[in-house]
Amino acid sequence: MEAMLPAEAGLPGVADCAPDLFITRISKEACGRLWWGMVAAGFAFQLLPVVVVGIPLPAFLLSARARDRYAFKLSTHRSYLIRQVAFIAKFAAGLCWGGHDSVREALALPPYATDPGTWRAS
């Protein structure tokens, strides 16, 4: 997630948006299809540098520069399935990043109100 949206062009990156809290929260709240899709995409993201940029290392061992190049190539890869891995990573990254106050402020958007998470119980 962090590699997909790093800080750049005056905007905070996912790393500035409490990604650990986000992962903990979504792991508890997401439906199985979303959570297991994210887990599978996370594994694939670590394993695919050898296929995508020809470097036989997991993504977390790549230098910041190489990882950035890898993130770009992954999401523009000619294989549809590989692009889907990037899509899921970007979807999760986008949810964490775009809802964060610091990003919204940088985009001249008002902060989101709290999500009540409530419903009529009777």
Binding site: A30, L34, D68, F91, A108, W119, R120
Partner: protein
């Protein structure tokens, strides 16, 4: 008790009514209120929880969590994986939709008559649509709520030279908060959870929420009620079982995806069940403007054009999407993606929905979850691509310096003199991102039981007291937004049931939901 939400494990809940309606979205709520206005005792059984505007989420994250079916993660099984999105809450998809109201075009009834043997619906559907427009305060998006993106689109269409208009929506005094997809916290949007469902309650009906129906109980060939188990909306833990007996009929209105599955689980036999699934898949183009557009300010969708409905078969609209969703919609990753997103304020998203001829199916998959098989044929791909070109032209005419077509294989950005490249793009569905939000079929109506599931009154062929009253019954796409047609058809079916009992729906029960 007129509303029963999640019940923890314990003794089974048993209720009885004249009519049981499964689902409280566009079709279910309309059928239920029509029956209740005719003096019938109605129970509405809804899978999702009942959230009032005060309960609505603000963030896109919680919108998916609280209001969308399975977080919007259902995708088509076919050549490409396109999301199939709908709501899961009291109010169904009307809670998360943009409330665009379009009357059923006359040619639709002609094709239902010619190709499906269904006659005599037009007058009743249009009469109900008049009534619904009054009751749900349908109005043009007011000037103050139009926002820059919608205004630019009007200019663009004028310059390209096609008809377009400000949308009419089931919204009372829209404030232009651009939050329709997360539910309208300002109570402006007249979704059925704040309009028709409360009216059903006032008329003596009961609502069961958090209560996904497992099956319709059928004795012999007669539907006698529905059964299922309450499910906690947050923990997903299963609660008490329930059975709701219907002394007159069961109407299933759980959407084009879920209605066929419920009928299958209930043992309904029909060669057409789960078949003839159709859609208006939609995709869009971002225009990149020099000055900020701030598409998030103004009505979520405020501009439309039906000029291309017949040829090539498209509906054009504006659509405001939050940065969360733009991130996965843009190509690229890493620092380049953040740079692209840094122009968010300068982006306007305009979309088109394809009046597609492709046909798919709905089946139960793993753990009973729906599997939607659907792929675009070549002609539909040509329509999709043509639509992207028209939208790109409109952006450029409105002053965009470039467009982002979102087609894999083309450059990320195209300048004014490059947009014709869209017309040469590959027609491979995997190179496009489209979303299915207008869904039709799966339990379609028709005169021939070999090709349809229900007849022209909504009754399931070969079964007694079992009806379908939602998008699943529609045998074709429409080329316009479907809520109005679904409501008109559902009300007509419900009125038919009342007439058979010598009853008639009376005028609206009480005050409309206040804005």
């Amino acid at each position: 008790m007129s509303h029963l939400a999640y019940q923890p494990p314990g003794p089974a809940v048993e209720l009885e009514a004249d009519y049981v309606v499964v689902g409280s979205g566009a079709g279910g709520a309309m059928a239920a209120v029509t029956l209740a206005r005719g003096g019938a005792k109605v129970v509405v059984v809804e899978a999702g929880p009942w959230r009032d505007p005060e309960d609505y989420p603000s963030t896109a994250y919680a919108g998916l969590r609280d209001l969308f079916d399975d977080w919007g993660t259902l995708i088509t099984s076919g050549r490409a994986f396109w999301p199939v999105v709908q709501g899961r809450a009291v109010g169904g998809t009307t809670v998360i939709n943009s409330a665009i109201c379009v009357r059923t075009p006359g040619d639709i009834f002609e094709s239902w008559k010619k190709d499906h043997g269904i006659d005599g619906l037009a007058d009743s559907v249009w009469r109900y649509q008049d009534q619904i427009e009054r009751e749900l305060s349908v109005e043009e998006v007011p000037e103050r709520a139009r926002g820059h993106s919608n205004r630019l689109a009007i200019i663009g269409a004028e310059k390209v030279g096609y008809e377009s208009h400000v949308m009419r929506r089931y919204v009372k005094h829209c404030q232009g908060e651009g939050q329709c997809l997360q539910g309208c916290r300002g109570r402006r949007k007249q979704s059925t959870n704040i309009t028709y469902i409360p009216e059903v309650q006032r008329l003596g009906g009961q609502i069961l929420s958090c209560a996904p129906v497992e099956r319709v109980r059928i004795e012999g060939r007669t539907a006698v009620g529905v059964e299922g188990r309450f499910v906690h909306p947050a923990t997903k833990k299963k609660g008490a079982r329930y059975f709701v007996r219907a002394t007159k009929a069961v109407l299933v209105a759980a959407s084009a995806v879920h209605t066929p599955l419920i009928l299958m689980r209930s043992g309904v036999k029909s060669p057409a069940l789960g078949e003839h699934f159709r859609s208006h898949p939609g995709t869009g183009v971002f225009g990149l403007f020099d000055d900020p557009v701030d598409m998030n300010i103004g009505a979520t969708q405020g501009w439309a054009s039906t000029a291309f409905r017949e040829n090539p078969g498209l509906k054009l609209e504006t659509l405001a999407i939050p940065p969360e969703m733009v991130a996965s919609r843009l190509a690229g990753g890493g620092a380049e993606l953040t740079r692209r997103l840094s122009r968010y304020r300068h982006m306007a998203m305009w979309v088109h929905a394809v009046r597609a001829e492709s046909v798919g199916s709905v089946r139960p998959g793993l753990f009973g979850k729906p599997v939607v098989r659907y792929s675009f044929n070549r002609r539909d791909m040509e329509r999709l691509r043509k639509g992207l070109h028209i939208v790109a032209q409109t952006h450029i005419a409105a002053g965009a310096k470039a467009v982002v077509p979102g087609i894999f294989g083309l450059p990320y950005e195209l300048k004014a003199d490059e947009i014709d490249k869209i017309l040469e793009a590959s027609l491979e569905p995997r190179n496009y991102v489209a979303v299915l939000s207008h869904l039709f079929g799966g339990a379609v109506m028709g005169a021939d039981p070999a090709r349809s599931v229900v007849d022209g009154t909504g009754k399931v062929h070969g079964y007694e007291r079992l009806y379908v009253a939602d998008a699943a019954a529609l045998p074709t796409t429409l080329g316009v937004n479907p809520q109005h047609t679904i409501m008109g058809v559902a009300a007509t079916f419900a009125e038919g049931l009342l007439s058979a009992q010598g009853q008639k729906p009376k005028p609206r029960a009480s005050t409309p939901a206040a804005a």
